[in-house]
Each structure stands twice: as structure tokens, then as C-alpha cells.
């Protein structure tokens, strides 16, 4: 096996193997576990770096493993998978550092980090999946690897939420599987190919293809938290902060959104999806989700719950971009895959810091927190402003491309109002938080101050991750036109998709 065929496997193994080893470590071997985690994450960063370079230069990285005739496990790096893999890799690294700081001295760390690595491995696997079959396998693995993380604390509430999560995602997974099998029956193995392949099928299949599309979207929509399939996400916020960060920014929700992008662009082909009239349906679902999620976020006092509903809304920007025909809208949706990730992970890190340092869980307890924890609050502010779409933060770039794409596709009439309503609502649920944090006088005492202010406002391992990801969110917007920015990469994906 040469290097080109091994690289996807290596990228996958760099988190899978450490994860498997960690399961067998004793609880006290803190150092070894940290070393394994960071070595795996570091190795993955390097491997993905090679992959980015190669894919940019039209190199093919493909691992193929035939299970049965016509049934193959394929790992393949194309522009879209590299985008998602890079996002997961970078954010996994920061989240690992954060989780090490967050879970210090709490029980069951080996179990936690083991599943944590499995979860990332499954994400990497579905990102690199070269056909629908492989995708579905890793998609289901992700469900299973995430369940113990949500249930981690073992409280009745956590177990209940984890059960709800499992019910939703297993149900979604079954629907997805049904769709995938049906498609396999009528169209054979479905390799992901830029531009899609199904348009070559004869017309009499179109009815079936529409039904299959619906099944696939429902299956993926559960994880992507499309309304009304979003119920598990706000419940899952009982999980520890690093898990929430991972769920909302990297793994689960993103896997659903990524799947939608894959199916539309590389299975059906965006042109064909539009001809079948399915794109408009997806757009409507996305629009409803965007507005509904923001409305629900308005009334949440629990900070993590507010952020969870915000995710429901923001992730659907990706689906919205997919539903906009034309390269500009495609860029907007795909680039938001990255932008939403780095902004939302910042918000969850910051929320975790407030809870761990001062015992703050609710927005109403945040008065004056900017004075006590300026760096965390600054990071939170940058990400929140970015979510509203304020320049020069990453979210502005997404909103710009979505808006411009909608005008060019002649869809401005409904997409722009959705974007504007969403911006207004985002402002309405984020700005009061910022007002409290920066302008209000703090209460005489914090709810439960766990970590006293010393050299830093909180533990270093908790402080640096949000600062770094907030910096990334700022840089992704400010230097959007620079080479190797997420925007440039999304542009490359759109060019290859539309064969420009």
C-alpha cells in the first residue's frame, strides 16, 4: 500500500488508536492519557496538513476495502471532506486541551476520553467517507460514541437526556439507512462524485428518488437539528461543556449538516436536486428552522440552552446555503460549516468557563462578569457578534455570501428577509447578555466560585481554548480573502462542484 492510499486511514487512526488505548488506562495515569491525547491530536494536525496540500494540488488520497461485491468501504479525501476534516482536527485539539482542564479530578476520565476520541474518529470517518454506505456506517458509529458522553455525569437528568438523544438519533439513523439501501437498490453503489450521478437515471425513477431524498433528509435532519427533529439538542445541554462544544461545533450537528451537503452536491447533484423541486423544500425547512430556533433562544435564561437553540438556528444556515442554487450560495453554506463551528465552540467554552469558575449557569447571573473574567467574556463577545453577522467576524462573511447568492439565484424575496429576521433575533438574544456582562454591576457574590482569580481569571487550560477559537473566528472574517482561509477553500469546493 502506498502513502496516498494509506493517508486517509492514518488520519482516521490518529484518533482511533489513542482512543482505544485510553479505555484500558487506569484512572490515575493522568500523564500518559494526556500524552496520548495530545500526541494523537498533534499527529492528526500534521497528517491533515499534508492532505490539504495534496488535495489542493489535485492529488488523490483513496483507501478502498471491498467487503462484498458492490459493497465497499471507501475513504477518500476531496475538497469538501478536507474542509470538514480540518475543522474537526483543529477543534478537536483545542477541545482536548479544554477537556483536560475541565475534567481535572472528576471521575471516569478514561472512559470519557476514550469515547471522546471515538466520537472524533467517527466524525473523521464520515467526513472522509467516499460513498453513501461508508458514510452511513460512521454516522451510526457517531451516534453510539456520543451517547456515553452525554450520559457521562450519570445523574438522572443526564441519563434522561442521553436516552432522548439516542431515541432521536437511532430513529433518524434507521430512516437514513432505509433511504440509503433503497437508493443502492435502484442506483447501485453511490460513490460521492462532485456534481452527482443520479441525473443519469431514467425519468421513471424520479418519483422514487424524491421519496429517497425525503428519507435521507429526515435521517440527516435529526442530527442537523432541523425543526421539528431538533428536540434532542436543547436537552443534550446537560452534558459537560467540552461535550457540548464538540456536539454543537464539530461532531454531531455538523455531521448532519455535512451529510445534507454531501447528498445534495455529490449524490444527487445540486442541479438535479433543483430540477426535482427538492431544493426549494430544503430551503423552506431551513428557513423555518432558522427563525424558530432564534425565537426559542430569546426566552431561555439558561445560557447553554440559549446557545443550543442558537445552534438549531445557525446550523440551518448551512442547509439554507445548500438550497440556494449557484456557486455563491454554495460558498455561503459551506463556509458557514467552518464559521459556525469556530464561533459556537467559543461560546460553549466560555459558557463552560463561567460555570466552572464562578458557578454561573444562567444569563441572569452574568451581571458584571466581564470585569471578573475579561478574556473569556471578550472571546464570548466576539463570537456572539459574529453570530449576529457583524463585520469583520466570520459570521458576516457567511451572511454576505448567503445574501449575495440568494440575490443571484433570484431567491432574494424570501432568503434576505430570513437572514434579516435572524440577525435581528440573534442581536436580541445575544446583546442583552453582552450588556449584562460588560455594563451591569456584579452581584455581591458569584453563585459558586470554584476557581479563585489568580494569575489568570481561571485555569489556563480553560482560558486559552476560547481565546484561540475567538481569534480564529476573527481571523476567518478579517482575512477572508487571504489564501487558505475557509472562504478560499469553500470557493475551491464550489468551483469543482460547478466545474467553473
Amino acid at each position: 500500500m502506498n502513502f496516498d492510499a494509506t493517508l486517509p486511514l492514518l488520519v482516521l487512526a490518529s484518533s482511533l488508536l489513542p482512543g482505544l488505548v485510553i479505555f484500558f488506562l487506569r484512572e490515575e495515569s493522568h500523564r500518559l492519557r494526556t500524552l496520548l491525547n495530545l500526541a494523537g491530536a498533534g499527529a492528526k494536525v500534521i497528517l491533515v496538513g499534508i492532505m490539504i496540500w495534496g488535495v489542493f494540488h489535485q492529488h488523490t488520497y483513496l483507501t478502498r476495502w471491498t467487503l462484498a461485491p458492490g459493497l465497499e468501504l471507501v475513504l477518500h479525501a476531496d475538497t469538501l471532506s478536507v474542509l470538514f476534516v480540518s475543522l474537526s482536527t483543529v477543534l478537536w485539539l483545542v477541545t482536548t486541551v479544554y477537556a483536560i482542564g475541565y475534567l481535572e479530578k472528576s471521575p471516569h476520565r478514561s472512559r470519557f476520553f476514550g469515547f471522546f476520541s471515538l466520537c472524533v474518529s467517527a466524525t473523521i470517518g464520515l467526513a472522509l467517507a467516499g460513498n453513501l454506505f461508508t458514510f452511513v456506517i460512521f454516522y451510526e458509529l457517531l451516534t453510539l460514541a456520543t451517547y456515553p458522553l452525554i450520559a457521562h455525569r450519570g445523574t438522572p437528568e443526564a441519563l434522561r437526556s442521553a436516552r432522548i438523544y439516542l431515541r432521536y438519533t437511532l430513529g433518524g439513523g434507521a430512516v437514513l439507512l432505509t433511504g440509503a439501501v433503497w437508493l443502492h437498490v435502484i442506483a447501485g453503489p453511490n460513490a460521492f462524485i462532485e456534481g452527482g450521478v443520479l441525473s443519469q437515471l431514467p425519468d421513471e425513477y424520479h418519483g422514487q428518488l424524491k421519496a429517497i431524498f425525503l428519507l435521507l433528509m429526515i435521517g440527516l435532519g435529526v442530527k442537523a437539528a432541523l425543526v421539528p427533529l431538533h428536540g434532542w439538542l436543547p436537552e443534550a445541554m446537560v452534558a459537560p461543556a467540552p461535550v457540548s462544544a464538540l456536539l454543537h461545533a464539530v461532531a454531531v450537528v455538523k455531521a448532519g449538516a455535512f451529510g445534507i451537503v454531501r447528498v445534495v452536491y455529490d449524490v444527487y447533484g445540486v442541479q438535479f436536486t433543483s430540477e426535482l423541486g427538492l431544493l426549494a423544500m430544503l430551503g423552506v425547512a431551513a428557513a423555518i428552522t432558522i427563525v424558530y430556533g432564534s425565537f426559542k433562544a430569546l426566552s431561555q435564561d439558561n445560557l447553554k440552552k440559549r446557545l443550543a437553540y442558537s445552534t438549531v438556528s445557525q446550523v440551518s444556515y448551512i442547509a439554507l446555503g445548500t438550497a440556494i442554487l449557484g456557486p455563491i450560495g454554495t460558498i455561503g453554506g459551506i463556509v458557514h460549516l467552518v464559521h459556525q463551528g469556530i464561533m459556537k465552540i467559543t461560546l460553549f467554552f466560555a459558557a463552560g468557563n463561567y460555570a466552572e469558575t464562578l458557578g454561573i449557569h444562567n444569563v441572569s447571573e452574568m451581571n458584571g462578569v466581564g470585569q471578573r473574567m475579561p478574556a473569556t467574556t471578550l472571546a464570548f463577545s466576539i463570537a456572539a457578534l459574529g453570530m449576529i453577522g457583524i463585520p469583520p467576524i466570520a459570521g458576516f462573511i457567511s451572511k454576505w455570501y448567503l445574501g449575495l447568492g440568494a440575490v443571484e439565484a433570484g431567491m432574494a424575496g424570501w432568503v434576505l428577509p430570513v437572514l434579516i429576521i435572524s440577525s435581528v433575533l440573534n442581536a436580541a438574544y445575544f446583546l442583552p447578555v453582552l450588556y449584562r456582562a460588560w455594563f451591569c454591576r456584579p452581584a455581591p457574590a458569584w453563585p459558586a466560585e470554584h476557581i479563585p482569580a489568580a494569575r489568570y481569571e481561571t485555569a489556563g487550560a480553560l482560558l486559552w481554548p476560547p481565546v484561540i477559537t475567538a481569534g480564529l473566528a476573527l481571523a476567518a472574517g478579517l482575512f477572508a480573502a487571504a489564501p487558505y482561509s475557509p472562504l478560499e477553500w469553500a470557493d475551491l469546493i464550489a468551483q469543482r462542484e460547478y466545474q467553473l
Partner: protein
């Protein structure tokens, strides 16, 4: 070199903002204006720098319009910064106020050198949102409500502009520089969005609701930059996004002339009803923005005369910026240390300047605007004269309010703010003679004296009935 200088107009205030929470950081505020002042002094007009890696591909540059705007804006930010640095005001002394002051400055000065839509929008947003902090929302419940109103209107304005910019980018095929957009026809919807978006900043009637509550609670040095400088970003926006010529159908010009005319009189009438001097000055600014809007409308309606009109608008905008800032800073001196004859004399002079009395920069501004309008639209010259009279009336009322203001303790005048104010007043006194001959400044004798007489007469009548409680303050929210 040029690119470093242009970029540092943005960067220095932003960098200093990160240090502004430190103790004794107040002298960083004036420092932040240095790159802009330097750029006005040494950069040749027509300098442009492409920064393809910034935002969506940015272009910074200094054109004739930008140079004028940058000139008065950086000067006035400097003077306000010195004034704040030297004064002992509980709010303006806080680190938080300094941070927002520097951020708003970065946005304001930055948008002037932006030569593409996205950089402009960035600066405009940065300025608009940061100014929220200048209102000092934490100082009182009223301030909090005012700041919230301001923020809601500002965000509405941003979103209108965002939508307009998206439409512009779509018809230009992705080109973002003002240069490339020069002759692309704007759709009526886009024009409407732009007028509404910038109209909020200019506080045109019905879009002005944020202004009175904001001016009522904000520290006066910040109101000075609000009313003198930041409000002008609305005019610059119109000039940049709706260039006279092929881009905008002349009919829109007529509409703007009408809107502007309404604004002139709305500002005066509402101003006359005010009891607080700073609100009166605020409405006077609205009135003056009406003059600028009308003038801009005329430039759209008569494209052949546009270059002359735009040049005159720049003179007028500079004049108003200097005079209005000086009026507010002088008012601030009275507010902090009590009424004194010496301050009243200075403010009286400034009141005449604002009205356009002969031998002042007001006369110069009016002469420039009249000259440029006399050919295409003589009716607007008459309008200007009437507006002069009305402003004089308003200024008499202003002085009356100051005169009858309840006197509190007289405190010593703060030295540095006083010097900053005196410097500005002297500049206003001298400048017209440096750029124009005396004969050209001998205009407006009739409307100003008429306004003065009417005002004094009205005051006499009014003071006799003053205890009868005229229902005023209708516009005082």
C-alpha cells in the same frame, strides 16, 4: 509607506483600545488621531492601496472628498479627545468609555478612507455600535433606555445598508470598490434602502427618534462627536453609494430635496420647542443635515452641476462640524463649571457662526452652496436664506436658554478642556479669512439681522408670558 499610513488610521485606535482600560490611559485618546492627521497633511490626493487579503478584498485611499472629511473628522476627534483627557468627568474617566471612544474613532476615521463597500460598512458598523458605549448606558435608567433605542435604530440602519450593499454587489458582478460601482445604475429599491439606512444616521425626520434621548443623556464631549462628526458619516455614505450621474436617476434627487427641505424646518421648529440647550443643538443638527440632504438631492437632480455642488457640500459639512462641536464643547464647559460671561460670549459668537452671520465660516459655507446652486436651482438659494433666518432664530433661543439657565455653583474652569475649546473657537474665527476674501464673506446680513430681531422680539414676548407655561417639550422624549 502609503499603505502603512492608511492602515494605521484604522489600526492605531484599535490597538490603543486594547490598552485603554489601563489607569492614566487617557492621553492615549488624542494619540490615536495622529495617523489620520498625518495622512491629511502628507498623502497626495488620489492615493489608493489595494489590500486583497483583507475582508473580501479591500481598497483604502484618499480622494478629494475623503480628504476633507478626514481633515475635519480627525481634527475634531483630536480636540474632543484632548477635552476628555483633561476633564474630570465620572463617566468619561472610565476605562470602558475610553475603549468605546477609540473604537468609534477607528470606525469613523476608517470608513472615510475606505474605498470599497465592505470596508466602509465595517467602519460604519464599528462606529455605530461602539457609540453605544459612549452613551454610558450603565449610568442611569434613562441612559440605559436611550442607549437601547439608539442601538435598535443603529442595527436597523446596518441591516438596511447590508441589504442594499448585497444588491449593489449582485448587479456589479462582485465588484466592491466605489470606483467600479461609479456608473452602474441603482435599482429604485436599492436607492430607497440606502436613503433609509443613511437617513437614520443623518436623523432625517421619522428616522430621528434615537437622537433626542441619546443627546439628552450622553456625556457632552461625546455628544460633540456624535453631532459634529459621526452624523456626517451619513452624508459621506450618500456621496459614496449614490454618486451623482448615471448611477442614480435624477428623480431621486428631487425626492431628497423635498425630504431635506422638510428636515430643515422640522429641525428648527422642534428645536424651538426644546427647554434643554443640548436638545436644541441636536435638533439644529437635524436641520443642518436637512440642508446637506437637499444639496445632495440637487446634485443628483442636476448631474452637470454636481461637482460644484458636492464641493460646496464639503465646505458646508466642514463648517457645520467645527461649529457644532465647538458649541457642544462650550456647553460642556458651562455644564461642568457654571455660566460665565466669557463662555457666553464665545458661545454667542459660535451661535452667529452656525447661523451664517457675515464674516464667519457660516457665511462662507452658505456662499459656496448658494453659488453652486444659483444656476441649476435658484429656488434652493431662497430656501437657504430662509434657513439662515430660521437658524438665527433658533440660536437666539439657544442663547436665551443659556442665559436663563438656573445657575449652580461656579467651579473653576478645567484648564485643558478650556484650551482645547479656545483653540477650536480661534480656528473657526480665523479659517474663513484664510480661504476667502472679505467681500465674499459679507453676505447674509439681512436674514441674520431679521432672525436676530425676530428672535429678540419673540423672547421679549415670551418672557412676559413665560410663567404661563407654554406647552413645550413635545419632542423632548
Amino acid at each position: 509607506m502609503n499603505s502603512t499610513l492608511l492602515l494605521s488610521i484604522w489600526l492605531l485606535p484599535l490597538l490603543l483600545a486594547t490598552l485603554a482600560r489601563l489607569r492614566h490611559a487617557h492621553w492615549l485618546l488624542p494619540l490615536a488621531t495622529l495617523p489620520a492627521l498625518l495622512a491629511v497633511a502628507i498623502l497626495p490626493v488620489g492615493t489608493t492601496v489595494s489590500l486583497p487579503w483583507l475582508l473580501l478584498g479591500s481598497e483604502l485611499g484618499l480622494d478629494e472628498t475623503g480628504r476633507t472629511f478626514l481633515g475635519f473628522s480627525s481634527l475634531l476627534w483630536l480636540i474632543a479627545a484632548v477635552y476628555i483627557a483633561g476633564s474630570q468627568h465620572a463617566i468619561t474617566e472610565s476605562g470602558r468609555f475610553r475603549v468605546f471612544f477609540l473604537l468609534a474613532m477607528a470606525g469613523n476615521l476608517g470608513l472615510i478612507v475606505a474605498q470599497d463597500m465592505v470596508s466602509f460598512y465595517f467602519g460604519f458598523t464599528l462606529m455605530g455600535l461602539s457609540a453605544y458605549g459612549l452613551i454610558a448606558p450603565a449610568s442611569s435608567r434613562r441612559a440605559r433606555r436611550a442607549a437601547r433605542t439608539y442601538l435598535a435604530w443603529t442595527i436597523a440602519g446596518e441591516l438596511l445598508l447590508f441589504t442594499a450593499i448585497i444588491f449593489l454587489a449582485a448587479i456589479s458582478g462582485g465588484a466592491l470598490t466605489f470606483d467600479a460601482l461609479q456608473s452602474i445604475p441603482r435599482s429604485p429599491f436599492t436607492v430607497l434602502l440606502l436613503i433609509a439606512g443613511f437617513g437614520i444616521k443623518l436623523a432625517l425626520p421619522l428616522l430621528h427618534w434615537w437622537l433626542p434621548p441619546t443627546y439628552a443623556v450622553t456625556p457632552v464631549a461625546a455628544v460633540a462627536v456624535f453631532s459634529g462628526v459621526m452624523i456626517k458619516a451619513g452624508l459621506l455614505g450618500l456621496l459614496r453609494f449614490l454618486p451623482p450621474g448615471d448611477a442614480t436617476p435624477p428623480d431621486w434627487g428631487l425626492l431628497l430635496v423635498l425630504i431635506g427641505t422638510a428636515t430643515i424646518f422640522f429641525g428648527v421648529v422642534a428645536g424651538l420647542l426644546q427647554k434643554r440647550p443640548r436638545l436644541l443643538l441636536g435638533y439644529s443638527s437635524i436641520s443642518k443635515m436637512g440642508v446637506l440632504t437637499s444639496g445632495f438631492g440637487a446634485a443628483l437632480a442636476f448631474p452637470s452641476a454636481a461637482p460644484g455642488i458636492v464641493a460646496a457640500l464639503l465646505v458646508y459639512a466642514s463648517h457645520h462640524a467645527l461649529a457644532k462641536t465647538a458649541l457642544f464643547l462650550g456647553l460642556g464647559l458651562i455644564e461642568c463649571s457654571g455660566r460665565r460671561i466669557s463662555l457666553l460670549i464665545g458661545l454667542g459668537f459660535l451661535a452667529f457662526v452656525l447661523a451664517g452671520a457675515p464674516l464667519t465660516s457660516g457665511a462662507l459655507a452658505k456662499a459656496a452652496l448658494s453659488d453652486s446652486l444659483s444656476q441649476p436651482a435658484p429656488v434652493l438659494v431662497t430656501l437657504l436664506t430662509v434657513s439662515t433666518l430660521a437658524t438665527m432664530l433658533l440660536m437666539v433661543r439657544f442663547m436665551f436658554l443659556l442665559w436663563t439657565r438656573r445657575q449652580r455653583r461656579i467651579l473653576p474652569l478645567p484648564g485643558v478642556p478650556l484650551l482645547a475649546w479656545l483653540y477650536l473657537v480661534t480656528l473657526i474665527l480665523v479659517l474663513p479669512f484664510l480661504v476667502s476674501g472679505i467681500d465674499r464673506l459679507m453676505i447674509n446680513v439681512v436674514p441674520v439681522s431679521l432672525g436676530l430681531l425676530l428672535g429678540l422680539g419673540g423672547m421679549l414676548v415670551g418672557s412676559r408670558r413665560s410663567r404661563a407655561n407654554v406647552p413645550s417639550g413635545h419632542f423632548d422624549l
